[in-house]
């Protein structure tokens, strides 16, 4: 559980957000219901998914590996749609949980 935004000590009179926090504080990847998985064997490291990702949640590392930052990926599926070699597959988070457990 994260700390409540307002406490007795700082409770204001208006619901204005004074400390937005940004993406460092809010891991929006929790909203995701489907998760993109990259098939390393098929991936050509072309970087199209990196360019198309609306959340900048896909990065190309120094080693040239394409990596998905799951803390921020909201599961929109644009990467799957754009990948020219069909190396990205959207997998249900529920199914993912089952395989993990």
């Amino acid at each position: 559980m994260s700390k409540p935004y307002w406490t007795k000590e700082n409770f204001p009179i208006t619901p204005n957000i004074r400390n937005p926090g940004g993406s460092l504080a809010f891991k929006c990847g929790q909203w995701r219901s489907v998760k993109p998985i990259i098939d390393e064997k098929k991936c050509t490291k072309c970087g199209i998914c990196v360019l198309y990702c609306p959340d900048e949640a896909i990065v190309k590392t120094e080693k040239g590996v394409v990596e998905i930052k799951y803390d921020y990926c909201k599961g929109c599926g644009i990467c799957e749609n754009e990948c020219p070699v069909k190396a990205v597959k959207m997998v249900s988070e529920v199914e993912e949980c089952k395989t993990v457990s």
Binding site: P4, Y5, W6, F11, P12, I13, T14, P15, N16, I17, R18, P20
Partner: protein, 401 residues
Amino acid sequence: MQNRKLMSGNRAIAEAVKLSEVNVVSAYPITPQTSIVEYLSEFIARGELNAEFLQAESEFGAMSACIGASSVGARVFTATCSQGLALMHELNYVAAGLRLPIVMAVTNRQLSQPLGMWCDHSDAMGERDSGWMQIYVESCQEAFDTVIQAFKIAENRDILLPTMVCLDGFILSHTSEPVDIPNQKAVREFLPSYKPDADYHTLLDVKKPLAAGGGCPPAFTMEFDFKKYEAQEKGREVLRKVDEEFGEVFGRQYGPVEAYRCDDADVILVAMGTMVGTAKDVADKLRKEKGWNVGVLKLRSYRPFPKEEVIKATSGSKAVAVVNRAISYGIGAPVFSDVAAALSNAKEKPFLLNAIAGMGGRDVDQKGLSAVFEKAMKVAETGKLEGDVEWIGLNRNLVGG
């Protein structure tokens, strides 16, 4: 210190706004409010008032502009009524929730349908639960004085709520009376410039960034509602203090209520706005001609509702008649409900009569109010209350009954 001039209620409002040295006026014209903003635009064009005038594309736009201007720390005024106030409805809650001390004059006018431009209180009653404070005035002088008081009340740190000054459309907005206008220096001393606090409510300041108007989860919403409720409760005391201070400086004082000849009264008539003057005359007449002990309780502050004052003024009376210039369909009328709520836990409970009068500009005359007093007197004497709502001035030839 004061200069007496003959002017309409609307002119008195505009003169008070000028002396309050507002920074921004944003409005959309609507009868009978129009001349308030016409005067203000003239003052600004002539350089008599150093302010921005924003003619909006609608009342929705006008209130949006007021919220924006108040959010950057401007002292803001607007005026509207009727359909215009109804169109602002959504934003009125935003202004109250962001705790912006905007002052708005409402020249009370009926709501369509039937379409008409005449006086009743239906428009402002629709906003009574929005968090805005509401003060109803009786004379041009009171309209003038109340605008200046309203800024001081609204900008008080304990309040920070927008405030409506309600004056009866045409009956007061377009009636001319002598008004004492104090000088700029005296008003400035009474009402120093607005100093918003970025750490406390809403102020858009690049040095202290904040996001206003966003979502709020259920975990906090009720707490913000409570804060607004608390501010209205404190509003009673602030309103009284500001009014007293105004009285000391300018020699005129009104109070949250005016209890006219209520001390020994068996029957008290409760009313708001211009009909109070007529009611006082009728009370005087009935005392003189019939020897009845009757009084009038004028509600000046409607939100916050002066509960304690209503209990105090009506204690010892046998019957209280509430004359409403608005209807609450399916139950009765709003002011009646509020008076009844205020008296619900009082030790001494008088009989309560509910009267509806003056809808859509129907004259509230001496004859009509005499009938209310008479009916209430009968109840006081017999101890029996018959019927539900009294419709004053209703043409029974047309609707039967």
